[in-house]
């Protein structure tokens, strides 16, 4: 064998070894990536981040006089606040100004989140004054025996509360979420979203889309109406009664688990009304000239009407009854559902 052929043979052997080593390295690398990936996948899921449990410092008002502050704002200002404890009263007035008053509790202050033409359009009401107090962990929520706010008539109010009885009167729009306490809303112009987990929700003389919710309380609505076509009225409670009188929205959805539903008023032409309970009665008190189509499903209760119904159709004898009927021209549509409650239609 010549020297050159020996060299080429040696070279090819070396190259072969390099190839094998390279393949082994790639294989090991891929294997380790796969193994680490699988380990990462099979490792127990990280616990969900716990809520911020750091206790914030309540900035108490040490003065003898109640805390009181005011700020000039836009007429349609959006106001956000939270209340940890205390009675809250919000009242709409004709001034473009917010006045906050806290008696026997925290301080009060404002934080402007947004301005429009030098006028604040989004303001947060705080339990301390950010201009004078530089505490980093100051409690933002208001607390006190009496908390009062005067706000522009057209303002939008957003409230979160831990435990508070609230009375809100004459404002543009309200959104309330309350862990415990009654909520009274009066003269709200452009819609309500109220939710309390322990307590009653009462709405009077208001308009707009409404969503009222309570877990262990009653819901009462008097003289409410739609502000725009298509505004919906929703009311749901688990352990209380729903009482509605003169509700003017054309789409109504009402439910209660173990409480009764009382509707008093007229069914509007083209309206869709849905009432449902598990264990409570559904009582409709309506004018004699009402016009509606009714579809009722009921289980262990009864269906009784004081009004003359036409075209009555019942399903085959069964534990769960289905009844459809009509009164007048059938302009509105009613859907009634109950498991073991009674359905009664009464003359107004």
């Amino acid at each position: 064998m010549s020297l050159s052929s020996q060299h080429s043979a040696l070279f090819s052997i070396k190259m072969r070894k390099i190839h094998i080593n390279l393949i082994l390295i790639i294989f090991a690398l891929l294997l380790s990536i796969g193994a680490s990936f699988s380990l990462a996948q099979t490792s127990p899921p990280k616990p969900a981040p716990k809520p911020h449990n750091k206790v914030r410092k309540i900035i108490k008002n040490s003065s003898d006089t109640p805390a009181e502050k005011s700020i000039a704002v836009d007429a349609g200002v959006n106001i956000s606040l939270c209340v940890s404890d205390g009675k809250l009263k919000i009242n709409g007035w004709e001034r473009n100004e917010i006045r906050a008053f806290v008696n026997g509790g925290s301080q009060v202050g404002f934080y402007v989140l947004q301005k429009k033409k030098d006028n604040p359009v989004w303001v947060k009401v705080l339990g301390y004054d950010p201009t004078t107090n530089k505490e980093t962990d100051a409690e933002e929520c208001l607390a006190g025996n009496e908390i009062e706010l005067d706000v522009p008539r057209n303002a939008i109010v957003n409230i979160k509360s831990n435990s508070s009885e609230m009375v809100i009167d004459s404002v543009g729009k309200v959104s309330v979420e309350n862990a415990g306490g009654d909520v009274f809303l009066n003269n709200i112009e452009r819609g309500i979203e109220a939710r309390t987990y322990e307590g009653d929700v009462t709405v009077e003389n208001s308009s707009g889309a409404m969503s009222l919710f309570s877990t262990t309380g009653n819901i009462i609505a008097f003289d409410v109406s739609a502000q725009e076509v298509g505004d919906i009225f929703k009311a749901k409670t688990s352990n209380g009664a729903v009482t509605l009188k003169n509700v003017g929205q054309r789409q109504i959805e009402v439910g209660s688990n173990s409480g009764s539903i009382n509707f008093s008023g007229e069914f509007l032409s083209g309206g869709q009304y849905s009432f449902g309970t598990s264990n409570g009665s559904i009582i409709l008190t309506i004018p004699q000239n009402s016009s509606f189509r009714i579809n009722a499903s009921y289980g262990y209760g009864v269906f009784a009407s004081e009004m003359p119904l036409q075209n009555i159709e019942k399903n085959a004898p069964s534990r769960i009854q289905n009844l459809s009927a009509q009164m007048g021209n059938g302009d509105a549509s009613l859907k009634l559902t109950t498991v073991s409650g009674a359905i009664r239609i009464r003359k107004q």
Binding site: T215, S260, R344
Partner: protein
Amino acid sequence: MKNCFDEGTIQAFLDGELASDLLENVARHVAVCDGCAVLMAEAEEESAFAFSALEQEFNTLVPTQRLWTKINDSIGRERKSVWQTVFAFFKHPTVGAFASLLVVFGLFVAVLSLQKGETVKSVAEIIPDKQEVIAPIFKPELATSQTSPSDDLESPKIATVKQAKKDYSIVKTVLVKKENSPKINNQPNALNSAEDKGQMTNDNFLLGEESYIKTIATLEKTVNSRKDEVLKPSSRFAFEKDLAVVNDAIQRMKAEVKKNPKNEAAKNVLRASYQNKIDLLSSVTEKTELMASLK
């Protein structure tokens, strides 16, 4: 030249049959003698021609060195182990790389399939946890009281209070029974979520029922872990009472739908009852979130 060799010696030289000293002499002479060189070339041509003509015969009949080599190679190949063959196969770079990719992909798929198995297991584990759901009890007198003419329609609050008192006694009885008897789930009326699931799969008469049950199972898991912290005793009692009412409604409607799958009214009420249960459970989780956000 006087020392020229004869044709036989030259032929023997070509055949390698000469002794070493004579072989050396012949080689030296041919190198310097043109006549002998020509003679050797002719003899070489003749023997090449003869070998080419008789090559096939030589190869088949005579065990030559090549034949022995082939035989030995074959024996050696037979003696190689399977692993050596496999190793030799994987020595090829392309094959090696492809095989390693296949292995990694296989591991990945295996891990994924294991995880899916775990998910199924966790869902299955959730179901029996819901043993604290209160057993629903059907009280015919409850329905009668609702439908009686004496039901005061003008005072719904009073009616609700009366109803709540009756429900209170029912729930109280059930709670006491539950505490005293751990075998409550064996009772036919017990609403166990595992049974729910079983019924759902066996008697799937309601469209979308599976999704309701899954949602309820998820919510129940969350609520059961937090309700003691979030709900005050009075609220907790109201919650359990409502849950019992809703479970009772679900149980009854399920039985009705099972009896008559074409009963649309029963299906509607069953759907509404499922939704009520979801709303009830959601209210606890939402309250939890609200309270956490205010901390």
